[in-house]
Amino acid sequence: MSVIIGCRGVEKIYRQGAVEVPALRGVDLDIVAGDFATLSGPSGSGKTTLLSLMGGLDRPTAGEITVDGHALSGMDNDRLADLRLRKIGFVFQTYSLVPVLSAIENVEFILRLLGAPRGEREARAREVLAQVGLAGLEARRPSRLSGGQQQRVAVARALATRPAIVLADEPTANLDSANAEDLIALMADLNRASGVTFLIATHDARVIAHSRRRIEMVDGRITADEGQGAPVAA
């Protein structure tokens, strides 16, 4: 099984004035192709910090992270941006759509950054929007979509570039139960049907229940990693 994201001895220390607050204390972790994994733990356990480091959104204080074989250390901001664009799809806690773009434009935006031709990107955007159940709502701006629909657009956007992995940070936190269930089921289906690798930081027991691999963190350390090695075939 190929390693999509690898962490070796990853540490992160935040400085608040003269005080050092360790958020991660030497994390070793591999996410492999086809994983549908959750990263859970109490607030302050370091799961969001680990997700941000894996996604190249922040830099570790120590340790090494690789994404699809590329070491993040030493990459400048532009190369990190390119890597995020090419390799990683993000789904954030808040819906995080560009408010002045319609659903399809939000999805196409990423594809345009990649230089995809108009016809190809439009077809791909419609395809992924249909996959997340938003066919017919392509022209709606985020303000005219429900929270659940906005989060589906975010998932569609994350999938549009066929990334190596989708990193999701508390994707159900702002959804009601029904929408949360739908979103979890959607992501699980996408994982099963297409082999898309998911790593989801969450408190939500329903999300954790759907995952095949459950990683738990406490005080910046991984304290449990269940289901490792049992991903859907990629």
Binding site: D78, R79, A81, R86, F92, V98, I110, L114, G115, R162
Partner: protein, 428 residues
């Protein structure tokens, strides 16, 4: 969906993730445009700041230039012309002793040539005018009326009676105000006295045939009669005190003056810039005033623009972080904010120019300055101002404001680009 990772349209990362500048602008331009209208009130305020700033700069430019043109016209079309020829020393001692022969030879050839559009010979000496009741110091001018019409507006400013009809006309034309001061009137006789060529007092009686208007100073100072009666009275034969001239269109006064100096090396040939320094100063400093005003307005405008753009950027920190998290390079964030500024300031500039054109429309016939006649006269102006917005000025000043305004937003743009992508994970 293909499980293969990586979109088939992906391009090499060199110079950005597959985007050339034109493609980047076409991607971000519509977003920038829509972003402008996310906060219509703030956009409206910024637009108003830019529009009023541009309007005020253009207003200042138009009014100063109108004033400078008016001032120049008032000065040059009174008697000065665009150049004058005198005997050496006349300008320091403008008496009958400093005179020139009538133009002839090379000088006449240049005066009648293509560089000079019109010229007028004059006798011009200090004199005393006396009525039955009063005596006033004046300047006596003996003129050739037809030639004078071509270089001066005074012949057309007759309020009563007539102007002189020929160089031999022995009537006298005086200012209407001077007539009041002398307690005389049209048709009455006055005595004019001046030093003659022989050093003795020369005097002659003239009948007032016309009264002219113009500024109070001109009305009090100038008294006109025919060239020949003046020459005869002073005993100067066919000699002149000065020759006033206008330069042909598209010929620079300095070029014509240089040609005249070569043609008459013994004479004192001066351009209007030396003869009427107030008008020249008005014209030259107007450019400096415009520059200063441009700087003042721009600084105020820039503070407003930068302030509002910074506010907008700080409000959107998470959005910029999100865009970076999705793969937008920091340079693209700078481009996005700069595009927003370019559109915003561009709209403001266009609105300012439109406002200026609308402001000028009611004044197409000029602005009557008679209510400010005394002040206008002191500053060398008067009559009517004709404010005209020169397209080249509108374009140049607008471009300066536009470019500098956009440059001022580099700071907010760079601030936006520094938004860490990790803030996309923050919920607040």
């Amino acid at each position: 969906m293909s499980p293969e990772r990586g979109h088939p349209a992906r391009r090499p990362a060199a110079g950005g993730p597959g985007l050339r500048p034109v493609a980047a602008i076409s991607l971000l331009g519509p977003i920038a445009w829509r972003n402008l209208w996310r906060n219509p009130r703030r956009t409206g305020i910024t637009l108003a700041v830019v529009a009023i700033g541009v309007w005020s700069i253009l207003t200042f430019d138009v009014m100063l230039k109108a004033w400078a043109v008016n001032s120049r016209q008032e000065a040059l079309r009174l008697l000065t012309g665009e150049g004058q020829i005198h005997a050496a020393g006349y300008l320091d001692d403008p008496g009958v002793g400093h005179r020139t022969p009538a133009p002839a030879g090379d000088l006449l050839a240049v005066l009648d040539g293509p560089m000079v559009s019109a010229w007028a010979p004059r006798v011009r000496v200090p004199a005393i005018i006396r009525s039955e009741y009063r005596t006033r110091p004046v300047t006596l001018l003996g003129v050739s009326p037809t030639a004078e019409h071509a270089v001066s507006d005074l012949p057309s400013q007759i309020l009563a009676g007539r102007y002189l009809v020929s160089p031999a006309d022995s009537g006298v034309v005086i200012g209407a105000d001077l007539a009041v001061r002398l307690k005389t009137r049209l048709g009455k006789r006055v005595i004019v006295m001046a030093q003659g060529a022989d050093g003795r007092l020369a005097e002659r009686g003239f009948v007032i045939v016309g009264l002219f208007g113009n500024t109070r100073g001109a009305q009090d100072e100038f008294v006109f009669t025919g060239l020949r009666p003046a020459q005869a009275m002073l005993g100067v034969g066919g000699d002149l005190s000065e020759t006033s001239l206008d330069v042909a269109p598209k010929v620079k006064p300095d070029v014509a003056v240089a040609a005249l100096r070569r043609a008459a090396p013994g004479l004192d040939v001066q351009p209007w810039t030396a003869l009427s320094p107030l008008a020249y100063t008005m014209e030259t400093i107007s450019g400096a005033y415009i520059g200063v005003w441009l700087a003042v307005v721009f600084v105020l405008m820039a503070i407003g623009i930068v302030n509002t753009q910074l506010m907008a950027v700080f409000e959107r920190t998470r959005e910029f972080g999100l865009l970076q998290a999705l793969g937008l390079r920091p340079g693209m964030i700078v481009l996005l904010v700069m595009l927003e500024s370019t559109l915003l300031i561009g709209l403001g500039v266009v609105a300012g120019v439109v406002l200026m054109v609308a402001t000028l429309a009611p004044f197409a016939g000029g602005i009557d300055m008679s209510a400010f006649a005394a002040a206008a006269e002191l500053a060398g102006g008067g009559g009517r101002l004709y404010p005209v917005l020169a397209p080249v000025d509108a374009v140049t000043l607008s471009l300066i404001v536009w470019v500098l305004g956009v440059a001022a937003t580099l700071w907010p743009a760079r601030t936006a680009a520094r938004a860490a992508p990790v803030v996309a994970l923050n919920t607040l």
